[in-house]
């Protein structure tokens, strides 16, 4: 076969072609271009990562804000201790708190004062009545002028003693004896 026969031209051509096949040398400035490209891509990757981080943080903040916004009202109301005025040194203690107890527990004066303040601020009626409006005040004044409770009989407690109630006479009941001799009509 011709494959086994030595062919110097083919050998020489193959070697020369393989040398050409190696390709040309890289163009000048290859290192600079590589480094510049690496730097650019690395920076872009960092920015991309930063963008994702910001987006995730914004999402978390949004979720927290929405949760607080749609939370039940009692969760959003401030605690009484937070809304109460802070105790001051000049503020006098209430008589409900024994002064001796405060002196015996120097570690917890703030808590005691806060407790006193809570007691003081607690309304006697719940819900706390609102002050009367102008219309309500006028209506009340009108009733005070026109209504005369004395004229209504029985409403005056002082006049209860002088009220005379006529005696009620009830006639005595007369029950006739049953007559057994009569035949039973209903049967």
């Amino acid at each position: 076969m011709h494959d086994d026969e030595p062919n110097p031209f083919v050998d020489e051509l193959l070697e020369a072609s393989l040398k050409q096949y190696r390709g040309e040398e890289p163009r000048s400035g290859l290192e600079m271009r590589i480094l510049a490209g690496v730097r650019t891509q690395e920076r872009a990757a960092r920015l991309r990562w930063l963008g994702w981080a910001v987006a995730v943080c914004a999402g978390i903040v949004a979720v927290i804000a929405l949760t607080l916004h749609f939370a039940p009202p009692q969760l959003r109301q401030p605690t009484p201790s937070a809304s109460l005025p802070q105790p001051t040194a000049t503020q006098p203690a209430s008589p409900m708190v024994s002064r001796q107890r405060l002196l015996l527990s120097p570690r917890r004066p703030a808590r005691e004062v806060r407790r006193v303040a809570t007691r003081r601020s607690r309304p006697e009626q719940f819900p706390t009545p609102l002050p009367l409006t102008e219309q309500e005040k006028l209506l009340l004044a009108y009733f005070n002028k026109t209504a005369k409770p004395d004229s209504i009989p029985g409403t005056d407690e002082n006049s209860v003693g002088s009220l005379e109630i006529p005696r009620i006479i009830v006639a005595a009941l007369q029950i006739e004896p049953l007559d057994d001799s009569q035949p039973e009509k209903g049967k």
């Binding site: 190696r22 390709g23 290859l30 290192e31 480094l35």
Partner: protein
Amino acid sequence: MIDAGQVILSESVSTTDASGGELEATVREQARLVYKIAYSVLRNHHDAEDVAQETFLRFLRHRKRWAEIRDRRAWLATVAWRVALDRKRMPAEVALEEAAEVVSKLRADGAPADEIAASRQMMSLLERLVSSLPRDFREALILSTTEELTSAEISQVLGIPEGSVRTRLLRAREILRAKLAALLEPKHAR
């Protein structure tokens, strides 16, 4: 040009912290090797530079494990080889008969082998012949054509024993020689 390059280098060093200096040194030492490996696969300057850049970018992102890399040159060669193979597209179909006819005509005209080898037709012919080789032989031959890697380094890149590399190279050349001789027979030079 050099000043602009120095500016780029210094800027890149400053942006990549302490690893910038080591990266720069590695690029200076191994850029040519990486480029030639990529070019041997892709046969295109732009694609080869892109692969070289991608290779060093992976190297930079791997910086926490630089100490674990025993042979940095072989590591870069392997990465460049794999990246280039991933990017390799199917070679353009070359009219084999037409190219062989042109080469035979040049030979008949008495052109020396070097001149024929430099012709575009001969390059196309050889590329087609190399791409038709079995994969194992083709890979060993392509890596050997870079003239940058030793047999031991090629064996590291391909993950095969060094003896196998030599055997495959020898066998690849035999196949190429036989196919080339068959193409250049007088019947093809009609």
